[in-house]
């Protein structure tokens, strides 16, 4: 079991580093969008502090969406997905490994970049900490939920819009709890509640998503 997950992680990470442009562009998007808001709206501290959590979270969500499109496309086109499906290993495990690889390449860099960008919005230390924790709990959920949509739309041409339409509604709770918790923490409130909820959503996604995305990729392969 461990061998399958580690083999897929190793391969996908290596491919990610080989095609670093694909990995870097969602990150660039995240950085550019968050940097443009202060320029377009107002550099005033109160305005930025109010907007910060929401803007950072929305940009992170959209950056994740951007990177999801390519999650299974290549695997489907070059036939490596069907090789994995006919192989002896349980498909849900393979799908979980794919989602984990996606998070390591697209979600984790966002979490690491976020505190830097949060400075632009004058977020206090508690707010920055909450932003990192909520992103750390929320982005894996987004990777998992997104993998279902990506598996369903992998065979469809120009599936970007369809993918967004399919999974954005599912991502809304993560966005709401993530950005509200960050905002509340910035105002000095205790945010354990929303953090527990984000954790619960992640646990739910880890248990339900692999089976769902396996069924979805089978449909795409059929």
């Amino acid at each position: 079991m461990v061998t399958v997950v580690s083999a897929i992680l190793r391969r996908d990470l290596e491919l990610g580093f080989r095609r670093w442009g694909d990995v870097a562009s969602p990150l660039m998007f995240f950085a550019i969008v968050t940097a443009l808001f202060p320029l377009a709206l107002s550099p005033a501290r109160e305005v930025l502090q109010g907007l910060g959590p929401g803007v950072l979270w929305i940009a992170a969500l959209l950056a994740m969406l951007l990177s999801l499109n390519a999650l299974f496309r290549q695997d489907l086109e070059d036939g490596s997905m069907e090789q994995l499906v006919v192989g002896p290993h349980p498909l849900p495990l393979i799908m979980l490994a794919k989602a984990l690889a996606h998070w390591l390449l697209s979600g984790l860099p966002l979490v690491l970049l976020a505190p830097l960008l949060a400075v632009t919005y004058h977020l206090p230390a508690e707010g920055v900490r909450a932003l990192c924790v909520t992103l750390l709990l929320g982005t894996p959920t987004l990777s998992l939920l997104g993998s279902v949509g990506a598996a369903l739309t992998a065979g469809v041409r120009q599936s970007g819009g369809l993918l967004a339409l399919l999974i954005l509604p599912l991502c809304l709770p993560v966005l709401m709890f993530g950005s509200r918790a960050t905002a509340l923490a910035a105002e000095g409130e205790v945010v354990t509640g929303p953090l527990y909820l984000l954790g619960a959503l992640l646990a739910l996604a880890v248990t339900l998503v692999p089976a769902t995305s396996s069924a979805a990729i089978r449909i795409s392969l059929d």
Partner: protein, 212 residues
């Protein structure tokens, strides 16, 4: 309908599959036993590839079922997966990894140790290409790479879709010899090909008619 014997290993029963308005096959039954090879022939678009995908469990037929050792292929996942070497239309190789990197990944998944691809690769004349990225290989070399991946695992059932395309005469002879050895050991093979296979005991041909 073919007379099904009980010791047959791969049995497909009364398969029916439609693609839109086209009926690719209706009530098709196939059985392959150890030592037997089944060659699937037919004009372009007759459903050779689709039939092979159904037999591997990749495509679900509208009716009928495929059994491996008496169990439906959907539920005998691990057992069937270990017994099957599938070589489809696409090579299943990652263009941005080296050939050796691709094969190492496949070997890791199959639970093989060392570098089981070395010998086969040398026999197919790929030894000097092992460290090249797959995108820099020619179509024939990529096809050979996919064959190496399929042949390095100790699978009992080969399902190969057009394995002879892009292969030169020497490559074809080599593959035919491998097939003979595989059948002698009690292996099974299902091969879709335009190229005529050498006649051999245990070789049967399934002629698919044009889709209606």
């Amino acid at each position: 309908m073919i007379n099904l014997s009980n010791d047959a290993m791969l049995v497909a029963d009364e398969l029916t599959l439609w693609r839109g308005e086209l009926c690719l096959f209706d009530g098709l039954s196939v059985a392959v036993e150890p030592g037997q090879a089944l060659m699937v022939r037919g004009p372009n678009g007759a459903g050779k590839t689709t039939l092979l995908r159904v037999l591997c469990g990749l495509t679900r037929p509208e009716a009928g079922q495929v059994h491996w050792c008496g169990e439906p292929v959907e539920t005998s996942g691990e057992q069937f997966g270990r017994a099957l070497a599938y070589c489809g239309h696409q090579t299943g190789l990652k263009a941005d990894l080296s050939l050796a990197g691709n094969l190492a990944f496949a070997a890791r998944l199959a639970g093989l140790h060392g570098e089981p691809w070395r010998d086969i690769m040398a026999q197919l004349g790929l030894a000097s290409r092992a460290d090249l990225l797959v995108r820099h290989l020619s179509a024939g070399q990529q096809r050979r790479g996919a064959l190496v991946r399929a042949l390095m695992v100790p699978a009992q059932l080969w399902v190969f879709d057009e394995p002879f395309t892009n292969l030169d005469a020497a490559g074809r002879d080599w593959l035919e010899a491998r097939l003979d050895a595989h059948l002698d050991r009690g292996g099974m093979a299902i091969i879709a090909a335009h190229h005529e296979l050498r006649p051999r005991p245990g070789l049967r041909t399934l002629e698919l008619a044009e889709a209606r």
